[in-house]
């Protein structure tokens, strides 16, 4: 019997099996941010175990609230900053050099095919786009990861999601993943890895694959995963060029991490996406999804473009293309948070920031900000936000607020008209 990529990664990292069905894995990357790490740091200190298993495998960032907005967030930032300095972490990203974790860490080349990655953040599944097993964990798992470099998992089943056809113009990976979540349901992939394959994935950039894998958790998935290929190797090339003769050699090596043809899957879904329309969520759960046409005309108060789902350079290009030459409706305010400083400066060089600002957007520094109702665009009760983020839970972006998830194109079109709008109709 062949193996799936997830099974191969598990086998290659197995440290211990304390009980049948429990796999303790060695970790290649332990990622940290200032919201979930400080309590782990404090607990390690109180146990007299303020140590790190390998300072080169631990990466840390301040991203959720940055720069700090009040004393509490300043204390959180200080705790992770002091800890990173104390342990001389080479990869700590402080204010000014920081961006949204799931955009920043891949951009730095930290994530490689076959890696095991954990972070105290549910959207860690994003990193599976590189052919890694990447799982969101809580603070205790993070704490043990920091101290011991291991994490325990049940061997997850794999669900194969075959994405066939060709996406129509104006339809993006965000629309694909919203559609997939709608079909699987919010717990359709619990305790499973979602392996995305097929021509639609093959044609996707790394950015688009990250958007896809980012929302695996919204179907309950432990990790989203794409098989590493030439697109992966090209993206990683600046970081791996000393390890391989050329890109082609890297691609061949990456095949170690491909699922075998006779691998066993818990379930296989097959979606033909050629007729897929842009998708928008309609309620407080990410599996409540409708084609944009059925949502068109719903009034919004705010448009938010950014986050670990859709704050990357390609997303900004798509949104700017829709916005170019337009101004946003008087009835809305719109916020753009480029996900990392690199994306921000690239967007400046390409003239995208100019387009956003001329359209009337507020452009913020890279941060999670309003995505989780922390800062930079929190909603008032009763307000509605069109957002490129990944979660529409009741109160997510502010108590009593409503969030509609959509692609950057749909969000930009919505900013122009003030009501949910299909960008293809402008």
């Amino acid at each position: 019997m062949g193996k799936t990529i997830a099974e191969k990664i598990f086998a290659a990292h197995l440290r211990d099996e304390p009980f049948e069905g429990t796999k303790v894995l060695n970790l290649d990357c332990v990622l940290c941010h200032e919201i979930t790490t400080p309590i782990a740091i404090a607990d390690l200190e109180s146990r007299g175990k303020d140590r790190v298993f390998d300072k080169n495998k631990i990466k840390a960032v301040i991203d959720h609230v940055t720069p700090s907005k009040d004393t509490k967030t300043a204390v959180q930032a200080k705790m992770i900053r002091d800890w990173a300095r104390r342990h001389e972490l080479p990869d700590f990203f402080d204010v000014g050099r920081n961006g949204v974790c799931h955009a920043l860490f891949p951009e730095k080349g930290f994530i490689r095919p076959g890696y095991t990655v954990i972070m105290g953040d549910s959207h860690t599944c994003t990193h599976g786009a590189f052919g890694a097993f990447a799982a969101g964990v809580g603070t205790t798992d993070l704490e043990v990861g920091i101290l011991k470099g291991v994490c325990a998992f049940r061997q997850p089943a794999t669900i194969k999601v075959n994405l066939r056809g060709t996406l129509a113009a104006g339809v993006y990976s965000k629309d694909v993943i919203l559609h997939v979540i709608a079909k699987l349901g919010v717990n359709g992939a619990t305790d499973a890895v979602l392996e995305f394959v097929g021509p639609v994935v093959d044609a996707m950039s790394m950015e688009a694959r990250m958007t896809l894998c980012n929302m695996a958790i919204e179907a309950g998935g432990t990790c989203g995963i794409c098989l590493p290929d030439a697109v992966t190797a090209e993206y990683l090339w600046p970081f791996i060029k000393d390890e391989y003769a050329d890109v082609a050699a890297a691609v061949v090596d990456f095949r170690r991490w491909h699922s075998d043809a006779d691998a066993e899957y818990k379930q296989i879904f097959d979606f033909d996406l050629s007729d897929l329309e842009p998708q928008v969520t309609c309620d407080f759960k990410p599996d409540c999804v409708k084609p944009v046409g059925e949502m068109a005309g719903i009034k919004v108060d705010q448009v938010y473009i950014g986050t670990c789902t859709n704050g990357r350079i390609e997303d900004l290009r798509v949104a700017a293309q829709v916005l170019d030459g337009h101004t946003i409706a008087d009835s809305v305010r719109a916020v753009l948070s480029p996900a990392t400083p690199k994306i921000f400066s690239q967007a400046m060089e390409e003239g995208l920031i100019q387009i956003f600002m001329q359209a009337g957007f507020c452009v913020t520094n890279p941060t999670c900000g309003a995505c989780l109702g922390m800062s930079n665009g929190v909603l008032a009760p009763g307000e509605v936000c069109a957002s490129t983020s990944n979660r529409n839970f009741n109160g997510r972006m502010g108590k009593g607020g409503m969030v509609h998830l959509m692609s950057p194109a749909t969000a930009a079109a919505t900013a122009i008209t003030g009501v949910i709008t299909d960008a293809r109709t402008l």
């Binding site: 549910s122 205790t140 049940r154």
Partner: protein
């Protein structure tokens, strides 16, 4: 505080209760578990449920439906139960991270089949429900208004070991 797996139960009759409802993100700026205490289930909208009410204050066990704890990875969700004296959750199913977080903290996230969860909910008609979990025998003892019912449950050896060790840090530290 010693963890006890028994006491009055509160019933949350909905699927997919997410971690933002259990503890809203705006409180994640707290750096002690204790500070979370007043905000338990603050954003949960459910008929007849009052996050400030006595029923929640007295509860030591939560009984709920499917996919409990979905959404964010925040361990603040099991913590906010812990600091309010709730160390046992009984549900039909959990989101993976929430379930793991609960066991990692040495608390119990018991899974029961739908019929049993339905039976527990039905027990409320007899009066307020008290739960007593026998971890070794793997049985949930429930009683209400003089009526008693037992519900055997399955738990992985690993999860059981975590509860007995007091949590994953203790377990891992002793072993790795």
């Amino acid at each position: 505080m010693e963890k006890i797996f028994k006491g009055p139960a509160i019933f949350l009759d909905r699927n997919d209760i997410n971690t933002d409802e259990i503890i809203p993100a705006k409180y994640l700026t707290e750096i002690t578990k204790e500070a979370l205490r007043p905000y338990i289930l603050e954003d949960l909208k459910l008929d007849g449920f009052d996050p400030a009410g006595d029923e929640l204050k007295n509860a030591r066990v939560v009984v709920t439906r499917e996919n409990f704890g979905c959404g964010s990875s925040r361990e603040h969700a099991p913590w906010v139960f812990e600091v309010n004296g709730v160390h046992t959750i009984i549900a039909q199913s959990y989101a993976r991270i929430f379930r793991q977080n609960t066991f990692n903290g040495g608390m119990l996230a018991i899974e029961l089949p739908k019929e049993d969860v339905d039976a527990l909910f039905a027990l409320q008609e007899k009066g307020s429900v008290t739960i007593d979990v026998d971890l070794d025998a793997q049985v949930v003892h429930a009683s209400a208004g003089g009526l008693k019912s037992d519900f055997p449950f399955k738990i992985s050896e690993f999860d059981k070991a975590l509860v007995k060790a007091g949590g994953w840090v203790e377990f891992a530290d002793a072993r790795y």
